[in-house]
Symmetry: C2
Subunit: 435 residues, 2 copies
């Protein structure tokens, strides 16, 4: 493949020097050495697949050869396999601001969305039964499920199925419209904490409080915030939440998701997937289902041990990390990257969809570019690994544990070079750094 005709922007000595200074002052910089990263490339796709922590393969070799191969079924008890879902949940808990006993790991995000949404609707039903509203309103039912229409689509698909199977109605809307749409008919809201396309961070405390004021439950999808920024599940009174572990938590491809059930709801958490792992006494193998106490009733079937223990190992990198430091670095990285893009990209070729306001920004930058497919292909060929969201989005994830400021400068510079070599239209939009 011949190189595109590149008209390289001049390297900015100022940006290079600032990147070096920022990296030198970065308290998280030493963590980079814990990860396997390709020499000579910049990995900005940790919001899709987190990088491999170097120690994980050896841990999994032990899980396979010793725990499975030698100890065999004894590992279910003696090796802690059976309790891994709640034990690993308790390791994730402090990263999302949850006390212990409220998170279990297992199944995919989609399956957990189903559990959470159905359970939320049932909890809302119960609340209506117990309160006086239903009677006063003449049998008023909480018939509506408000769903972030800009969400990662699986949440919408699954919420629609949950609504169909619980006799509710889906109301898709923009998160900005959510507070106005809440009312006595609302059973629950399902919303992404950070939009997977734009990187916009939604107002978790405000929307949760608004849902509660309307008597509804708030279900949050933390796929793009868990491990990227402080979430504060307990502090903000979130009811239920789900999240992914293969992005900012580096659990490995398709590693199991997690489910948060606030302690106050656990006694009435009524799972649509009451598998034997959710039973109070699973090894009684009794014909009748009696739900376990606590978040454990969010479990379903036999836990997927290889993937689960890879995640367990991967979580070791968080041991001495404060999420406030992660957030500070994430915002500094995305600020700096946007500044570098403004400096290096030919004017008018890309525009940022990622909010400039820190309070509205997750840990990624999304650039709109009509030539995005060709541009991302060329970026990856030059070792700058982001990803494409069709039709026209360049997505760059900034994972503070292993991405530095020199990476951000280099990525923006290579983007400038690639854009110079890929023919394209100049839009009238303002450059990203000004938004």
């Amino acid at each position: 493949m011949s190189e595109p005709q590149a008209v390289s922007p001049a390297v900015s000595p100022d940006l290079v020097a600032r990147a070096a200074a920022l990296d030198a002052a970065d308290g998280l910089a030493p963590l980079r050495g814990l990860f396997a990263l390709n020499e000579g490339s910049v990995y900005l796709d940790g919001n899709s697949l987190g990088a491999l922590p170097r120690h994980v393969p050896e841990r999994i070799r032990d899980v396979m050869t010793r725990q499975w191969g030698e100890l065999g079924i004894r590992s279910w008890t003696e090796g802690g396999w059976w309790t891994a879902p709640e034990r690993i949940g308790d390791r994730i808990a402090p990263l999302v601001g949850a006390g212990p006993g409220q998170i279990v790991v297992g199944d995919s995000t989609s399956v957990n969305v189903f559990k959470a949404v159905v359970a939320a609707v049932r909890l809302a039903d119960g609340d209506a039964d117990e309160g006086g509203d239903a009677g006063a309103d003449g049998g008023q039912e909480r018939t509506e499920l408000l769903v972030d229409a800009t969400t990662f689509p699986t949440d919408g698909y699954i919420a629609r199925s949950a609504a169909r199977m619980t006799g509710r109605r889906i109301v898709p809307l923009d998160p900005a419209e959510l507070p106005g749409a809440l009312g006595p008919r609302t059973a629950a809201v399902l919303i992404n904490h950070v939009d997977f396309r734009t990187g916009r961070l939604h107002d978790l405390p405000g929307i949760t409080a608004a849902a509660h004021a309307a008597g509804a439950l708030a279900v949050w999808d933390l796929c793009h915030s868990a491990g990227a920024l402080p979430v504060g599940l307990d502090e903000h009174g979130v009811d239920l939440a789900v999240g992914c572990t293969y992005k900012y938590l580096n659990g490995g491809p398709g590693s199991p998701a997690f489910l948060y059930v606030a302690e106050r709801h656990q006694g009435r958490f009524d799972s649509p997937l009451p598998g034997w792992n959710a039973h109070a006494d699973p090894f009684a193998m009794a014909p009748g289902f009696v739900a376990a106490d606590g978040a454990v009733r969010g479990r379903v079937g036999t836990p997927d041990i290889l993937s689960m223990l890879a995640l367990d190992a991967a979580l070791d990198v968080w041991e001495s990390v404060r999420m406030a430091d992660v957030r500070a670095k994430s915002l500094a990285l995305t600020d700096f990257f946007l500044e570098c893009v403004t400096a290096y990209a030919p004017p008018g070729r890309v525009s940022s969809l990622t909010p400039a306001a820190h309070a509205e920004r997750g840990s990624q930058v999304a650039l709109r570019c009509p030539e995005a497919p060709a541009v991302m292909e060329a970026l990856i060929a030059r070792g700058v690994v982001g990803d494409l969201r069709r039709p026209d989005l360049l997505r760059f994830g900034f994972t503070p544990l292993y991405v530095g400021f020199a990476d951000a400068e280099r990525a923006a510079r290579v983007l400038g070079e690639v854009l110079a070599g890929v023919p394209g239209e100049v839009s009238g939009e303002e450059p990203p750094g000004d938004r």
Copy 2:
């Protein structure tokens, strides 16, 4: 721990010699070398956790270090991660008598039971809508879901949830009563191919045909038959099936389950868990759900790659194996084990729950023994690894790929020794070999 006071039964030279001759004539015997087995122990728990195929850890090391660590997200496309669920499904297909394109791998057995039962009810609804029965019968609805009451309990728990969420009624019954209970109200039946306690093999062709004659669908749970005996899903016209891959398929602890959707039902297979992986164009990330063609619509969320590719590697051991040979050896092993138990066990101390008739026997032997907990503990301490099903069952799985006849003789002999050393009551039941 002091040894129990053992009064060893005399070794039977005849049984030892016959075991040696049977092992020498066993065409599957060379496969044993493919598995990591503890020297000096007899592993009869492959019906709970299949043994580790020796080559799997190295394959998973490659998945972690090269595919995840070096190639990263490129592995989703170039490395075949994305299509693993259907590709590995097609590898399992010949082992259960299914043509290609009908099996997907992913999620736990429990989650797949939910998909299959809900989909079956919806298919039955559709059949009623299309046929004349519903109208002629004055709005007759297929309101009942018949469920094997002796099944592994998770199936019953999940079926109850599926019934609740589709407005149906669960009818738990003994599999023997199933044919008589089928009728115009039956939407579907859910039954285990092999009972997890007794090892009884149910009549898949007969029950499936009876369900069809009643206009109902048959959903089979193959957890204890996939990889243990010929199933013949296509031949016998099974509608939907689920199965486990960590028992006789040796996929590793908690490895993902599989779902079979007969080709004729795929166009109307309506999943209660329509995650983005089931979408016709998942990477369009469109707000509306359009189901993919084929069994792929049984997928839900992002596949769990480490566990899935461990299973993929584990399936290599089946390459030159004919299921008819597996079945023949399995029956010979369980026959021989029962004979050895009769010879070695003190009279009246154990009784077999496993049917003597080959047509009714799976690939395990279940012995009832009032002292089962103490006996199994002592067996395991002496290197004979079976498992306990509370309160009084000793369960021994015979996995023909790596268990031999000398293992069966030794296990029965050690059982005899242990029983001699554990005080117990003698029951009036006949010895196992005579049943």
